[in-house]
């Protein structure tokens, strides 16, 4: 199965690295057009209010202003992850539901004029009681944020498998804890930006920073009430997404509507401050978790109760909540489980997917609790995990089928790293306490959900031997343009530099669900493989004719084709293409491929039943920390990860994914939290919302298990997203190991550490009492 490849598995630079290094790569905000107008958004200053009147007259009179729009100028379309339940208008209709909700938009000749006009719009509000705490929002008498959602419950999930009550009675050890995760940012540096051009034939063309451009493609048609055939979405380079650029947003819609109203191109670039207070966040959660084990460490039962703060709108929160609940079933064997989840509306920023999507919250709770159990039961945390680790061929109670799985191997290898690290450094060093912790994860390689799932790919072969490859998938930085190109190059026997990767243009590239759930390499990768095989098959017939051989005997390797067993009967690849194209009957070589995982039981978000992915990735994360007991400061001094991503397609890119995920996890554990007062975000700047800097980077050891996935393209699975799930608990557990304090709330600040150390009676409760 492992072959001698020219492109696959090599440490090759990204296909877009040079244009990004020179500043030539164009992002949405870099684009401009002749006659282009600039837009600005007016946002709600109240967390909850009824709109009584919007007076745009003064704004419209300002010199240089071309038009002003509000909800009254729209057809009232409401977006939402489950479209039938859409609840989020792009411009507020009757009321605003969080500070930052979009109310109106202006188009003017330049940004300064647009900003001045925005400030001249007068909105009369009737302030309503707001609720910003999810537990308070579920109370009987809480103000209703959406009329049709009693108790402000946005979505419910209830997974129940096995006999939980009876299983707990059989347990030798049971513990219950409450865990809390706080709201955090995606943290991309490129703010949301959109450029739209409405032409007089009634077509709208759109360039925006969208990680899943076909969401915008569909929703532009719906929100503007025009046929899909009149929408064209073109993808420029994207400055990071991490889940926060999946959906179509207010600026995307407003750029298009303002362009329709003015007949001019309109660009809107939001400020980073707006990104930080008016757009998406990771769901904060309160998780009550109960786990029961046998004396020998076998996990018998789990009971979880999750309240997730969804913010003002549904977004894709139904999926988020399902994932939080369902991923209690992974990566350990769990015969009896109950996970009941509530996603609750509050008058704050909407929550959505973010790297690991829902899974980091529940795994943080489960992995931290497992270490607490191990400690009290006198079991080794490594052995405990090994004992319960899922194996190939198992099926989780909710229906996840485990195919390739290197989890056991990864735990064993991580155990060796921990033993080595313990030998290398002493546990205590004066006031500095050292600790090592671990955490495990399982994650999807692309979710199979109801609706459109298929990825497509088109390949055009040029007569110089170059290949044009187009898919509907986007590269938000993760490197998919490169690995997809490597796959095409390998199948066609050419080199990576021969591939020209075409970015999404909905007029010509295949429909695609989007860049989420780590689906691109696995699912689009298979579509690319099939498209390349299709083109190769067409070329093999031409080669067979020219070389007087059977098409099945033609080998494509390193820009040459030859007859198997007779390498001297060969042709340069480019010559073969010319023969194909220039012959009397002239063949144009176009390869086509599409792929979606087959035969998977579609997931039911309410019961959690179903198999969401054709392959799952696994891994173990190890972290070493030093806690200064005098200052309370925690430093992550090194980390190691042993992960099963199947066969890595490009180790350099894979390492980059893992490193970024791991250092991001350091931020989530120790620094990051959106702080709000009465719904007002208090830290909507990078200065106040602290993300890791280069000073927080630490050495990382990266190992991968010897796994090959039979379905993945060239054996590959997910990488880089799932690991973040395990980074946070690994650090939490390392701090526990160092100080004896298990923190159940992140981020763990130095004040929390000092408080906990000062008062040993707070041990185990620290962080939720502050």
């Amino acid at each position: 199965m492992k072959m001698d490849y020219v492109n696959i598995g090599k440490r090759l630079p990204r296909v877009d690295a040079v244009v990004k290094a020179t500043g030539e790569a164009k992002y949405a905000g870099d684009l401009s057009m002749p006659g282009m107008l600039h837009g600005k958004m007016l946002r709600s200053p109240y967390p909850h209010a009824r709109i009584l009147d919007i007076d745009t007259s003064a704004a419209a009179r300002l010199t240089g202003v071309r038009t002003v729009i509000s909800g009254n100028d729209t057809i009232g379309f409401k977006a939402g992850g489950i479209s039938a339940q859409g609840d989020e208008p792009y411009l507020a209709l009757d009321k605003v539901r969080f500070i930052g909700d979009a109310v109106a938009a202006v188009a003017a000749i330049d940004e300064e004029t647009a900003a001045e006009a925005r400030d001249l719009i007068r909105v009369e509000y009737d302030e309503l009681p707001a609720v910003v705490d999810p537990l308070a929002a579920m109370a009987e008498n809480a103000p209703l944020i959406h009329d049709r959602a009693p108790k402000n419950i946005s979505f419910k999930t209830d997974l129940a498998y096995g006999d939980v009550a009876q299983a707990f009675r059989k347990c030798d050890y049971v513990r219950e804890d409450r865990f809390e995760t706080t709201p955090i940012r995606h943290g991309f540096i490129e703010p949301h930006a959109a450029l739209a051009v409405w032409d007089q034939s009634g077509r709208v063309s759109f360039w925006g920073s969208k990680q899943s451009p076909y969401f915008t493609y569909r929703n532009l048609a719906k929100a503007l009430n025009i046929p899909l055939s009149r929408v064209r979405v073109v993808q420029p380079y994207i400055g990071g997404g991490f889940g926060g650029k999946n959906e179509m947003f207010d600026v995307d819609f407003c750029a298009a509507l303002l362009s329709q109203k003015t007949g001019k191109p309109v660009k809107i670039v939001v400020s980073q401050q707006e990104v930080l207070y008016a757009y998406r966040q990771r769901h904060p959660t309160v998780i009550d978790l109960k786990t029961g084990l046998k004396k020998d460490g076998t996990i018998l039962a789990l009971d979880a109760h999750i309240v997730a703060d969804g913010g003002a709108y549904l977004s894709i929160g139904a999926l988020s909540l399902y994932l939080m609940c369902a991923f209690f079933c992974m990566p350990y064997r769990l015969p009896n489980m109950r996970a009941k989840g509530y996603r609750v509306y509050t008058n704050t920023q909407p929550s959505c997917a973010m790297r690991g999507h829902g899974v980091p919250q529940s795994r943080q709770a489960a992995e931290t609790q497992l270490d607490l159990a191990a400690g009290e039961m006198g079991l080794d945390p490594v052995e405990l995990r090994l004992k319960n680790a899922l194996k190939p061929g198992e099926t989780t109670p909710n229906g996840f089928k485990i195919t390739s799985c290197g989890l056991e191997e990864s735990i064993v290898a991580a155990g060796k790293i921990i033993a080595r690290w313990r030998r290398e450094k002493p546990k205590d060093d004066g006031p500095t306490k050292r600790g090592i912790g671990l955490g495990c994860y399982g994650y999807t390689s692309g979710p199979r959900m109801a609706g459109h799932n298929t990825a497509g790919a088109v390949i055009k072969v040029h007569e110089d031997g170059g290949i044009s490859l187009a898919t509907g998938s986007t590269d938000v930085g993760q490197g998919s343009d490169t690995v997809l190109s490597q796959i095409a190059a390998e199948v066609l026997g050419v080199r990576l530099e021969d591939i020209r990767y075409g970015m999404v243009d909905s007029d010509i590239t295949p429909l695609d669900p989007g860049t989420f759930g780590s689906r691109v390499t696995f699912i689009t990768g298979n579509a690319v493989r099939i498209a390349a095989e299709d083109a190769r098959g067409q070329l093999a017939e031409v080669a067979a004719n020219a070389l007087e051989a059977n098409p099945h005997d033609i080998v494509f390797h390193d820009r040459k084709v030859y007859v198997v067993g007779s390498p001297e009967r060969s042709l340069p690849f480019s010559k073969l293409v010319k023969i194909a194209q220039y012959s009397a009957t002239g063949k144009t070589i176009l390869g086509r491929g599409y792929w979606a995982p087959e035969g998977l039981e579609v997931v039911n978000f309410e019961t959690g039943r179903g198999n969401m992915s054709a392959a799952y990735s696994f891994g173990t994360q190890v972290a070493e920390v030093e806690v200064d007991t005098e200052t309370g400061t925690t430093k992550v001094t090194r980390m190691a990860m042993v992960h099963d991503c199947g066969q890595p397609l490009n180790e350099m890119l894979m390492e980059g994914q893992l490193e970024g995920s791991a250092i991001g996890g350091v931020g989530h554990t120790l620094m990051e939290e959106i702080v709000r007062r009465d719904g007002q975000t208090m830290n909507s700047s990078f200065l106040e919302y602290r993300m890791p800097t280069s000073l927080d980077a630490c050495p990382l050891e990266i190992l991968h298990t010897d796994t090959y996935d039979e379905i993945g393209p060239f054996g590959a699975k997910e990488t880089g997203e799932g690991i973040q799930v395990a980074v946070v608990p690994a650090i939490v557990n390392a701090i526990h190991d160092a100080t004896g304090v298990a923190f159940k709330r992140i981020p763990i600040t130095s004040i929390m550490v000092l408080d906990a150390l000062k008062d040993e009676t707070k041990t185990g409760q620290a962080g939720i009492e502050d």
Partner: protein, 157 residues
């Protein structure tokens, strides 16, 4: 009211009409068309807009265009010489220091000014030099590595 100024960018002189409060970042991007210099926060917090003025790494979003008069401004667009990438650009490409690429121009310009003063830095010095440039994709590991490798091959050119 707009006033005329002359800016020297990447060895070329530009006579421009700008308002007194316009930032160098605005003028580079909107008036000269050098969109390689990115705006991340517009408030001096992320480093994406870093350019080099008279050898110093400077945040273009906190610099008024007027303040840059009479000085020599170098942007990411000025690094390629005779069709060849700068050694830092080369190192960023080769060592996987680029993911989404949005912070990249600022990272490279910061590194360029730093290496010209400190051709053989330690890793700790590199980390400190880059600490004002945010990146969410890479975890900085490969960026630090690329700067280190660039300092070993060719420096301060």
């Amino acid at each position: 009211m707009k006033k005329q100024i002359r800016l020297a960018v990447n060895g070329f002189e530009y006579d421009l009409l700008v308002k007194p409060h316009w930032t160098l970042l605005q003028v580079l991007r909107d008036e000269i068309g050098h969109t390689g210099t990115k705006e991340g926060c517009g408030k001096g917090e992320c480093g994406a807009c870093t350019v080099i003025i008279d050898g110093e790494a400077v945040l273009a979003c906190l610099t008024l265009a007027f303040q840059a008069q009479g000085k020599s401004i170098l942007t990411i667009e000025g690094l390629v010489r005779e069709g060849r990438l700068d050694s830092l650009q080369e190192a960023f490409v080769k060592h996987g220091a680029i993911q989404c690429g949005y912070c990249t121009p600022g990272m490279i310009m910061t590194s360029k000014a730093f290496l010209s003063k400190k051709p053989h830095p330690t890793e700790a010095e590199i980390k400190k030099a880059l600490s004002g440039n945010l990146c969410r994709c890479t975890g900085y590991v490969k960026i630090i590595e690329a700067v280190r490798k660039a300092s070993m091959t060719e420096t301060g050119k």
